[in-house]
Amino acid sequence: MKTELAKKYLRLEKLPTLWCSGCGHGLILSSLLRALYLLNIEKDKVAMVSGIGCSGRTPGYVDVHTLHTTHGRAIPFATGIKLMKPEFYVLAVMGDGDCAAIGGNHFIHAARRNIDITAIVYNNGIYGMTGGQVSPTTPYGAYASTAPYGQLEEPFDIVELALGAGATFVARSSIDEIPKLDRLIADGIKHKGFSVIDVITICPITFGRRNKLGEDPMMNLRWVQDITVPMKKAKDMSKEELKGKWITGIFRDEDKPNLIDLYLELNKKLKHSMVDESSKEGVEDVRRQDET
């Protein structure tokens, strides 16, 4: 399956990736590819859109319609594509800064309008590409180049944000549970509506080094194991015990009318009423319409 999958979905000539060795991003990319493969999705029906940062380079490696946009803006571009290509699977891959800082407004509004886009957040709690500045998901107290004395702010919980804003599929996973992540991404892609998969990952180079984890990916992975708690286990833990932990699992999987279907329905309805009216000229030509 591996080579078949790689041949099918990767732009092999673009490898190796530009990610540092030990970076978690490659694991998320491979999960993503397996999800597409699991669902047997036609490449011509996929658009993958990203913003800026290390995560932003993901689409370049995937042989679908790929768009590497401006910082934080993956979702608006994806929205335009999805609205005009309802049959497409549209994926927005974002970093935590991309999604929750500069792109936060787009993120919550996409959730509110329940547009059928799958948002995958590479959440490593740091701005890796620019050298390790604090992000909106940097843990309280962690060190970063712009928090040399430790982060004084509380992090955003991307799952809570998505739930509060109305996303209809919301899950969190990590690079420590890869087979599960494949399925979660596949579920998100299948889901009709705005799906969010918050993936806790690592940046050994700019986060690990500053936070006593070093560049060793295993040390960093252990940190991920330490800060993530499966939903089932979390049920028996106190608030105190859950402080600083990210709960993983599916938080919401809800069937609700999504924007595309509602729009297509409206278009159909209007078309019918227009056909009725067309006997008395209709809208075939806007020139003939009286101004309203």
Binding site: H68, I75, K82, V286, E291
Partner: protein
Amino acid sequence: MGQRKLISGNHAIAEAAIRAGCRFFAGYPITPSSEIAERLAELLPQYDGIFIQMEDEIASMGAIIGASLTGKKALTATSGPGFSLKQENLGFAIMGEIPVVIVNVQRGGPSTGLPTFPGQQDLMQVRWGRHGDQEIIALVPDSIQESYEFTIKAFNLAEQYRTPVILLTDEVISQMKEQIEIPDDVEIIDREFPSVPPEEYYPFDGSKGLVPPLAPYGEGYRYHITGLAHDKTGFPSSNPKVVREQLERKLNKIRKNRDEIVDVEEFLLEDAEYAIFALGSMARVAKQVTLDLREEGIPIGLLRPLTLWPFCDKELINYAKKLKHIFVVEMNFGQIVGEVERYAGKYTKVDWYGRADGRLIPPREIKDFIKERIHEN
């Protein structure tokens, strides 16, 4: 003969957009442009199109770029403050060579300025508002008739040159109603489809011409677009030769076609010794001034750019060589006069009159200014 219709500038733009084949609009409410969105919210769903009000101006600009990549014509409309926000993704559309049309209904600035009054203070924002080197096409109508016609032209130019095009109007033209004649036939230009199979397709390949075709999504052409400097395949490159060549091609596709793009109105210039240089709603006032001064025996004409950018340098120089004096009149504190001086200054005297207080400059003031200057010389 076309049908006659009494219509506002903003509604004319909305209806012309449908006529041009626009099937997607994303916008954000802002005075004095909102009626364009409102009209399209009503019209687009009737034409199998999509209207969406986004969460902000930045998102609207992103959404129309996404929509355009699917092969459909897309529009957004705003005013100065919103245009400032659109600059980021407008830069992306220029870099990615993605056809879109942006209407900027100018109001008084800076900042929130004068939402319900006109201004001509975005002339340079349109030209240079983004970082980096680039060419931009901007059309400036001075009437509702032209608002209709230039909207169609804006879509045509966007598709033909694979580039964003700005339609620059102002509060006066957008809100006013005029009787217009809707032409029976209009020329509609659609995007060129690649002539090569997907394996041989590169979205930025300039070897066959300055404007490589842009394949619509979903037709077997899977390619990459990035805001990073890139090679012909669309993938990032920092090779100086590649970067320079790509950027030069993007500039040249407009520079080398400027004769096709640039248009001016030459009003009573044939025998003129003097000329007013004015655009948009100020040109309407200037036209009256020209007629009044002619009545008084002053041989004056009006040169009005219909295309603000690229600038009508050649046309201007042509007249500058024959004229004694050019008077630039604009509703700002001196923007386009810099360009006029740059090209005409070598050949003739250039004087400027303008202000920005939300009011059209009355003909009387302009007349007095011109007569005074003629007298002084």
